[in-house]
């Protein structure tokens, strides 16, 4: 019995790589078959490795078993199809796992999962399942929806891809910027879901951030997608994630930016974020990711909230508002306004947001207002705001935070 060790997250990442690689041979219409074959291979590993030991090259082992499962399945379907012939003609051992063809397949799969024929929830679901290798239960837990909903969404997504007859190929060059925008949007959505902890208390949420960054890195390192906007998003995600260790205290409670122990911020990640930010500024491309990464970089550089370059942050928000007119941007900008021009100015900025239906149930609107009211010395109004925010909070961690603030007000 050999006792080789598995690298961290090997199964999840292999799942994505192997499904992509098999789908290239099988064709998009057999995506489901590829997924099943890979799932079976992993199950088989589970039944074999405890007794026979972990093989020296686990991913190659998984690939061989998955490939054989796919072949068996195709033969049973008795489709003397192109898929069967292609797969039989392929080498039985996988290409170098980190090698170019392998990464190409993974990239192609990312674009396929974010195909314009799919709705955004479908894109997110499919990306997390077939590209990032998350399980249905994990995705359901992260987005706080029943497992059946995710399951159905995935089935429908694959049906749409079959019906649309999407080939397993990279987008045409002239479509690339737009298609890439869709892929980045999905990665950012997955990242935010993990970062904001806006729903659910599942431990998978930190993993969402890690995998979004991982896939962003795959894009940034590939010659076809090594573009400024990719580096901008990657910089943004990495800089945000560098604060994750300080975001939750030893009791699991959320800690706000101004109370975080900045010693806990991941310095190596910050350095990496800055390197990508630098690569993002090549050329004259300016996306909202650039601006948001710029804001994140101001925080990352600052030794404290008071010593933060808030006027620069406000300038970024002003620019951001021009490309992204969402109420959430206006809400965040109000915080910057308050830091530059005082809490009352910030409170005035919030005035128009109450009527926005998109923020009606968003707990951060009353939370931010309460914070500014508190700083302006208007404790009674602040208390009402915290109480309302606690009522709207979607997770226990967020609710606890609001209740703590409320308690500290009356103390």
């Amino acid at each position: 019995v050999i006792a080789a060790e598995l690298t961290e997250r090997l199964f999840r990442r292999s799942a994505g790589r192997l499904v992509a690689h098999l789908t290239r041979s099988l064709g998009t219409e057999h995506l489901g078959l590829a997924e099943d074959a890979v799932q079976d291979a992993m199950l088989r590993a589970l039944q074999t490795w405890p007794f026979n030991g972990i093989p020296a090259d686990p991913e190659a082992w998984l690939f061989r078993v998955a490939r054989n499962r796919a072949l068996d399945e195709l033969r049973q379907l008795a489709t003397r199809s192109r898929a069967l012939n292609t797969l039989v003609g392929e080498p039985a051992s996988p290409p170098q796992m980190g090698g170019a063809p392998f990464v190409d397949d993974q990239l192609t799969m990312m674009f396929l999962a974010c195909h314009p024929a799919l709705s955004e929830p479908m894109r997110v679901g499919l990306t997390l399942k077939v590209v990032a290798g998350f399980g249905v239960d994990e995705i359901a837990a992260a987005f706080l929806v029943p497992r059946g909903t995710i399951q159905q969404r995935l089935v429908r997504a694959k049906r749409v891809l079959r019906a649309t007859v999407v080939p397993f190929a990279m987008p045409h060059e002239q479509d690339l910027p737009e298609r890439l925008r869709d892929v980045l949007a999905v990665l950012y959505l997955a990242f935010n879901e993990g970062y904001a902890a806006s729903a659910g208390d599942a431990p998978v949420r930190g993993e969402l951030c890690i995998e979004a960054i991982h896939l962003g890195t795959v894009l940034a390192e590939h010659p076809v997608t090594n573009r400024p906007e990719v580096h901008a998003l990657l910089a943004l995600m990495i800089l945000q994630a560098s604060r994750l260790p300080a975001r939750v205290d030893s009791l699991g409670a959320l800690v706000l930016l101004d109370e975080q122990n900045r010693e806990l911020w991941d310095r190596a990640a910050i350095a990496r974020g800055f390197r990508h930010l630098e690569q993002a500024s090549a050329g004259d491309c300016l996306t909202s990711y650039h601006l948001e990464a710029g804001i994140a970089s101001c925080h990352a550089m600052a030794p404290s909230v008071a010593d933060t370059d808030w006027s620069r942050i406000l300038a970024y928000y002003d620019q951001l508002l021009e490309v992204d007119h969402s109420p959430v941007v206006r809400l965040n900008r109000a915080v910057a306004v308050a830091m530059v021009h005082g809490p009352e100015a910030g409170i005035r900025e919030l005035a128009g947001l109450d009527r926005d239906p998109r923020l009606r149930r968003y707990h951060l609107l009353p939370a931010v207002r309460a914070r500014l009211l508190e700083r302006a010395g208007r404790a009674a109004e602040a208390a009402r705001g915290y109480a309302r925010a606690a009522k709207l909070a979607r997770t226990t961690a967020e609710r606890d935070l609001m209740e703590r603030r409320l308690a500290s007000l009356s103390a």
């Binding site: 074999t48 972990i54 290798g133």
Partner: protein, 111 residues
Amino acid sequence: MILPIEKSSTFENMSPQDMQKIVERYGKWTKALVQGKRLVDGHKLSDGSGRVLRTAGGKLTVTDRPHTESKELIGGFWIIQAKDYDEAQKLCGDCPHLEYGPLVIREIEGR
């Protein structure tokens, strides 16, 4: 000899990450046995439940499991080196399999 008895379909619907965690737990357990020079051998048994031969009234019958109603399977086995049952029991007390089913320990005579 250690025989883990499992109920079929324990691992349906598991995510890749969950599966890796289980493999890692077994890896840790076997590694400790290897380091203590306790693990002699281990093998997965081929899929299926094999065959069971019986004679009744001079006639041979063949079934595929010991008891017709039983759904319990043995997926593989380990052979470890131990002074006596007490020691073997100690070595198996943290075997990850115990989460999924019972372990049977039998001494191999003459080894």
